[in-house]
Symmetry: C2
Subunit: 155 residues, 2 copies
C-alpha cells in the first residue's frame, strides 16, 4: 500500500486511483474497448458475438442456455448475439432431440473461418498485453485473479 493512500485512509479520504474496483474497471474497459474496436473493424463482430463464437468453437452444439452458463452473459444478450450470428451466417441451429424449445448451436463453415482468423489475433493481443510480465508474474496474476474472482462472487 502506498504511503499516501495509507494517510488518506486515516483521514477519511479515498484515492480513486488506488481503489481496486476502480483500477480494475479502468483496466478492463481499456482492454475490452480496444479489442471491441478491432473485432468490429475487421469482422463486424461485437464482443458478445465473439464470446458466443468462442464457446461454440470449443464446445460445438451448446444450446443458448448452456452458452449463458459458460459466458457470464445473460440470456437476452445471448439471444441477441445468436440472432445476429444467424443473420451473418456464422452459426446455425439444429433441433434438440426431445425438446422443441431449445436448439443446438454450431459454427457454420463461414463461422469456422472467422473463428480461425480471430483466435490467433486474440492470443497475440493477450501476449502483447502481458509481454511486460515474466512467467512467474503471469502465474501469479493467474492465481490472484482466481482468488479475487472467487471473493467477488461471495461479496
Amino acid at each position: 500500500m502506498r504511503s499516501e493512500a495509507v494517510k488518506a485512509r486515516r483521514d477519511g479520504l479515498l484515492f480513486l486511483e488506488h481503489f481496486l474496483p476502480y483500477r480494475l474497471s479502468v483496466l478492463s474497459n481499456t482492454v475490452s474497448g480496444r479489442i471491441a474496436k478491432s473485432y468490429e473493424e475487421r469482422f463486424q463482430l461485437t464482443i458478445a458475438e465473439w464470446r458466443v463464437m468462442a464457446v461454440l468453437g470449443r464446445f460445438p452444439g451448446l444450446t443458448a442456455a448452456e452458452v449463458t452458463e459458460r459466458t457470464a452473459m445473460d440470456k437476452v444478450q445471448v439471444s441477441r448475439a445468436v440472432s445476429r450470428l444467424k443473420e451473418t451466417q456464422r452459426i446455425e441451429q439444429r433441433a434438440v432431440e426431445g425438446d422443441r424449445r431449445a436448439r443446438h448451436l454450431f459454427l457454420t463453415d463461414i463461422g469456422h473461418e472467422v473463428y480461425a482468423e480471430i483466435v490467433p489475433l486474440a492470443l497475440d493481443y493477450e501476449r502483447r498485453f502481458t509481454s511486460g510480465l515474466n512467467a512467474a508474474e503471469r502465474a501469479q496474476l493467474d492465481r490472484l485473479l482466481d482468488k479475487l474472482t472467487a471473493a467477488a462472487a461471495t461479496l
Copy 2:
C-alpha cells in the same frame, strides 16, 4: 499456464475462461455491479456520480474538464453526473476567475456527509474483496495492475 490451455492454443482453440481480457471483464463487472447496486440502494448514486464525488472530496474545486482528466470518464459522462449531483444538492459550482466557461466544483455540506458515509463503506468493501490475499500478494497485485494498465494504454 494450465496444460489444457496450452493444448488448446496448439490446436487453434481459445478457452474463454483462461483468456485474460475476458477474465478481467468478468471480474470487473462483478465487482462494479455489486458496488453499483449498494450505492444505488443506499444513496441513489450511480458509479459515475460517486467517482465525481470521490475526486472532489480529494481535490475540491476541480472543473469538469479536470474531473474528466482524473477519472477515465468522458466529458459527457461527467456533465451528466455533475448535473444530477447539482439536482441532488451534493455539489455546487463557483465561478472560475478569468474564465466564464468553466466552473469550480465543490461538495456541499450534504455532499460531504454522503462522502463521509461512503468512503468507509467503499474501503470496507475493498478490504473484504481482498481479504483472501496476504500483504505480499496485495503488493504484487498492485504492481501487476500497474504494469498491465501501462501495457493496455500502448496497445
